[in-house]
Symmetry: D2
Subunit: 446 residues, 4 copies
């Protein structure tokens, strides 16, 4: 009995042009990227040897050049084919992709598994992220845009993002790095002292967007300023690279000792650097959630196939409830989470940054923490299911039990980099219990 035709309906299907875009992307990957991956034993960067192939153990554990060159090459191909700049505004050669489309693309690519087309270990993808470009576009002077956006897209400017410090935890208002106004050699500017940690990409960056306190006291939201600091500035030292579960490292520890920058190095308004740092936090969290979901779906799918294929005593492994039920649990979550991500992305697309923060911050954090946890659990389960009958099938089926499994460790990383699970939960709780957000007034009256 079809329902009343006069009743309003809903529609949960992906828009047809997006479905078609995913198909084009698949074709492009199959025709242009997969052959490059298959060439010259480039598979060594993706199979069980990949941690070793990517890591220059004796140079601080940094990525090897041949590995990063291959990534660059694939990005250039994707740029020529029109995919790489998808999320950029049209003025920079992009298509102004938006959050919904980006989320669907991130899920789609991560669900395909690991490859030269997409690699969660270092956020490489044929469809690029450009938070740095968007940040300069939003807050930069015309000169800064000219230098850093144009330069970035042409490849002669590379920006690192210098916010985190060893001891301030998740609350950047307690940062220790500080800058004072000064004049050096007749040039008005700032002298910076302090240190940063876990700064990604510094080994190839030409500049660091550095956040430092210029006035106010620890805990003040106002008083933090952003600076462009060139890599070769005097007093700017890369002390070390931090080794993690997930090698190679590109997590630099930096110190700044009497580093001078001219006033033109200031990004945005003096003392208002923190909002710059937080501009794309929601976009990044959602994008990460989408990638985690995709990776979880990959693990689920591989587990299903393996459990059907594997017949330890003549009977399919998948006939065991101990195999079936955990996959049912994971799969149900993946179905549900996918919808929350798509809904949240859709709503973000119609809101300003300020509205997103006020009305949608809890939903973004829900997507993020659930996605990252789900992915870790799905990877853990996939390994457990494959291990029940240890075999080379494990490698063949795409979950290489190497020391650098992107399945295990990247989501693990995700559970930290955009705010740990606990930080996300704290944020959601603040909305739910009305300490911030739309229910603040209502619940405070209780």
């Amino acid at each position: 009995m079809p329902p009343n035709p006069d009743h309003g309906r809903m529609n949960f299907a992906l828009p047809p042009d997006l479905v078609s875009y995913l198909s084009d992307l698949d074709t492009f990957i199959a025709q242009k990227i997969a052959p490059l991956q298959a060439r010259d034993d480039n598979e060594r960067f993706f199979d069980h040897r990949r941690e070793h192939s990517r890591t220059n153990w004796d140079a601080g554990g940094l990525p090897r050049d041949d590995w990063e060159d291959l990534l660059s090459q694939s990005r250039e191909i994707a740029d020529e084919a029109g995919f790489y700049r998808f999320c950029l505004p049209t003025e920079y050669g992009g298509q102004n992709g938006g959050n919904l489309w980006m989320a669907v693309i991130r899920i789609h690519l991560a669900k395909k598994g690991l490859g030269l087309f997409n690699d969660l270990q270092n956020e490489h993808s044929v469809v690029g992220n450009f938070s740095d470009v968007l940040m300069v576009r939003e807050f930069g002077s015309p000169e800064q845009k000219e230098e850093f956006i144009k330069g970035r897209l042409e490849g002669n400017r590379v920006l690192a993002f210098g916010l985190t410090e060893p001891s301030h935890g998740s609350d950047a208002t307690h940062m220790f790095t500080h800058a004072e106004k000064t004049t050096r050699d007749g040039v008005q500017g700032w002298v910076i002292n302090g240190g940063k940690m876990w700064i990604s990409g510094m080994h190839r960056a030409t500049h660091c967007i550095l956040f430092a306190r210029t006035h106010g006291k620890p805990g003040d939201a106002i008083g933090i300023t952003a600076f462009f600091v060139p890599r070769d500035a005097k007093g700017f030292v890369i002390e070390s690279y931090e080794w993690t579960f997930n090698m190679p490292t590109d997590h630099a520890t930096l110190t700044f000792t009497d580093v001078f920058v001219p006033h033109s190095a200031v990004l945005g308004q003096i003392g208002h650097g923190l909002p710059i740092a937080q501009t794309f936090v929601h976009e990044n969290r959602l994008r990460q959630a989408a990638s985690s979901l995709g990776a979880a779906m990959y693990c689920i799918e591989e587990s299903i196939k393996y459990a059907r294929k594997r017949k330890p005593f003549g009977e399919e492994l998948s006939t065991n409830q101990a195999i079936q039920f955990p996959i049912v649990e994971l799969s149900t979550q993946a179905e549900m989470l996918r919808l929350l991500i798509l809904k949240t992305a859709t709503e973000m697309d119609g809101m300003t940054q300020k509205e997103i923060e006020r009305d949608l911050g809890d939903k973004v954090s829900m997507c993020n923490f659930w996605g990252n946890r789900l992915c870790t659990q799905a990877a853990d389960r996939a390994i457990q299911i494959h291990d029940l009958n240890t075999s080379t099938d494990i490698i063949v089926s795409g979950i290489p039990l190497s020391s650098d499994s992107p399945l295990l460790t990247s989501p693990g990383r995700y559970r930290i980099t955009e705010g740990s699970e606990e930080i996300q939960q704290r944020k959601i709780a603040a909305y739910l219990f009305g300490y911030v957000g739309p229910r603040k007034a209502e619940l405070s009256k209780l």
Copy 2:
């Protein structure tokens, strides 16, 4: 930066006419049902005294008449106001509501908590369920429709659904009750022997739709036939009523000893009764999932309010992470599950029964088992949070710690009545691993 206007978008907002319908429903409840509940100490049926007020302990634990009369009265009011028959086809005075609208209404009502407008303990609601009517409409003869649909809506026919038996578990093909063709007093018909258990509503029913094996052997899907058996048929005995966590009982245990019915009592085709029994299994499972979700949301909301209001040592209870984080977990699930229910309902609205079974059975089961479990967990958490500081607030705030908490026990019941959690998971697994459903061919080739 708003996304590319040429890109297709999605829309997750409820249709405006549905939002408006919910508002009308709220107004109706406030104006017509709430006053009736407030009258004549009718609150005794809903506050901490409700188990005792509803139960006739000394008459087998059946519902008391004044309780069931009050329910009837509220349904009549709702029928006059045009709400009660919402899901029925227009030919029977309904609005042909459909699965999406019904799901949204079920969530909405359960989220309001417990009251004369909606009570999960016995599936009473001002917006009715009519599985029996729809079943007769689909499979009945013109005479049966005349008698049982018209009679049902006028109140002189009440149908019970007689499928479950004590020992066949969840697989009705192993049922023991059987019927043989016979002629009695010159009338062609059937003689039925066997027994049924957990038959709801039998104490007020005029007829039981009884399922019995007429040919084939245990385990055969074919060979089960449905009969209308009048309550006063000779040999039809209500042996007892089963007491449960959730009193009053209306779960009768029945025996049939040489019960004769004429051939006109057969519903549908001989031997094809099982599909009749299963006709609305997906609709029922989804409706139940929606009610469970609504009840979970109620528990979450009450917990949030209580934790803000309660200040055990001058500080709000809600400042504790041990209070916050479990609510964050539950709330995230509620957000996600809501979308999966709405999506599944929307898809069901565009499909035939056969298509639903083939392509959507796993999603329905996902909604069902997750919803019922979520509800139990939310109720458990609500009780735990309220209990942290035992107080009369518990009753005031709508989670009466009485011996018949609908919060605790109804969802518990839900975890059984439409197929236990394990049964749902088994079904989902069958789809996921390709033993049934759309991936059957693909995954069997592995």
Copy 3:
């Protein structure tokens, strides 16, 4: 290869005299208590009808007299047989049982299921608890011992324990009830004002041991005094009884309005009542943990037997991993928890109250919260397993799905009454992280 005979060994076997005591207890129950339970339809107090049989719905939900009289009768039989006073000192006719033996006995009795010999709903047991006697023995004057210990054992004094209030939460130092020195009719004494809630046994008590602030301010540990207040004191009113999941209620809400007691009513030192209240907190928590463990073991055992017996489609239910694995999880926990309870009890037996608080408080709380949670989970699982194939076996096998399942609700109660799970975890954390306890100095230096 047997190990080196010179090496010291351990011994985890129960002492033989304790094993033999359990056997004597079983014999006594079989010969003296079981027949009484079987007589005069006394089974109505234990089968599915028990909530109704025990509850006087129309008198505030209090226990019926015939129910409490039957309990008294069984206790008298047990006293004559020498079991009832087991834990009391020999001077009061007991055997000075100690914590280890009491824990083993509590586990043993609860593991036998529900009966007139032991009922967790109201802590009735043929082997009694006597916290009140021990409290008066420890802190009372000779006159008080004469009146309240002798009177209690002879049955003409019944004490309720009046500590909890509606709004101070788990921290009694914030209590609102207060007493001031006064002289009335020439008698020096105290006038008490305030209120108490959740006071068990008040309906049959002759006196309430009431805790009230006599000096100091909210939050001070010192300044709370204990008083014997007779039930018939002027101004002492039982306002109501709180209905819970677990009927009948014996949880009174009390008010005290200008209630006068003479100075001789003071128990212990003025201002030092709080340590009196806390004297047996560890003993009670451990005893409760033992009962919870026993009940969990009962649920596990019933589930195992049912799953072996039940053959829904000709195959034993227990062949399903979805049945097996949850029982494996529960059973492993029961094995482990049993040892922690026995070890903790053994260590308590060799320590003073002060040493227990300093060195063992975390272990006691570990036993308590894990035990109570395990019991709830085991009951939940038992119900789920039995429900998979709803059947009368459920009642037959001893887990009656009645509205007053001791399996479900008593442990639920346990999760509150001696400090909620969260309170226990907070306490354990304080020891683990060195905020109190033996590691305080070491960890504070970090």
Copy 4:
């Protein structure tokens, strides 16, 4: 009130001579092993560089020689000091340690963290395991004992254990490798064909104890025979080494093509090899459980210290319930599991192999699966707690976030190597539900 002195008591304290032995072991490690670890940058094998320092990436991922030489050196020192052979019988220079003492030692060493004294990654320890020696002692001929026990202890015989195959899963009776009687060059013997996988230590072994079917059919317990096959036998090929999460690898994949061995190579009785393979399965599982527990305790302790030390915003991290409560859960489990391990070890010490299998197999599996899972969870939580405020403290405090964290990956390995979690649970279930073990008769009658 101390308990009745006539009552039998229990004793859960470690025997004093064992406590004293642990202390001697600590002294030895501090004086002899720690200095060696501190020398010549040997720390590189244990700090964040250790995966790279240990792995010869370009030689199949095998352990580097300097790494394995260092391990040998430490074992020699331990042998001289009288610790290494602790578990061996006195006839071979050991002390016949027994299961209880070995379990306590394993817990103690793993609890100290990672070092040259004990390394779970490859089961290296200053107190050695000697399953191979005990196996030859139990089943070998006098000549075999002379060659393989004496040779092993002198260092000129090294044995690998060749049971597992790529596709038979956990049931070795389905192995594919087979041997036929033959005469070659006048010597009676056997010709072996087949393959093995995940064979540890093969890269340094002189012989493989190879299990092959000599008669019977797949699934038969009888018909599998054990052979000593020299590494240089013709047709015996090491095909590859499998890379895992946990590098370096020492997991060889072997093939056997017409490999001839003389009759004297047979270990034990022909056709009765399977019991040989299973001889020490319980001892190994328990030892592994003990190591897992120790590692879990290490993670818990490090987390506690870090959370006290770390003050992100001036307040200790450990004041958060989201930090405290998970540690409370883990710590409670560690306390409980420790007792079950000690009890099981104590009971094993008084039983024959046959009795252990019949009466204790479920307890051993309980220890094993719970221990391995607990360890994984404790490591995961330790990482999560440390990550909340990413910092160099992570490395300093002994949980180096390197790509080869023994905390994360070794227990992960444990969840596989002695039978996966699922295999353990299946085994426990078989006992609990009476399919095997002491309750078989009782429960089969239901």
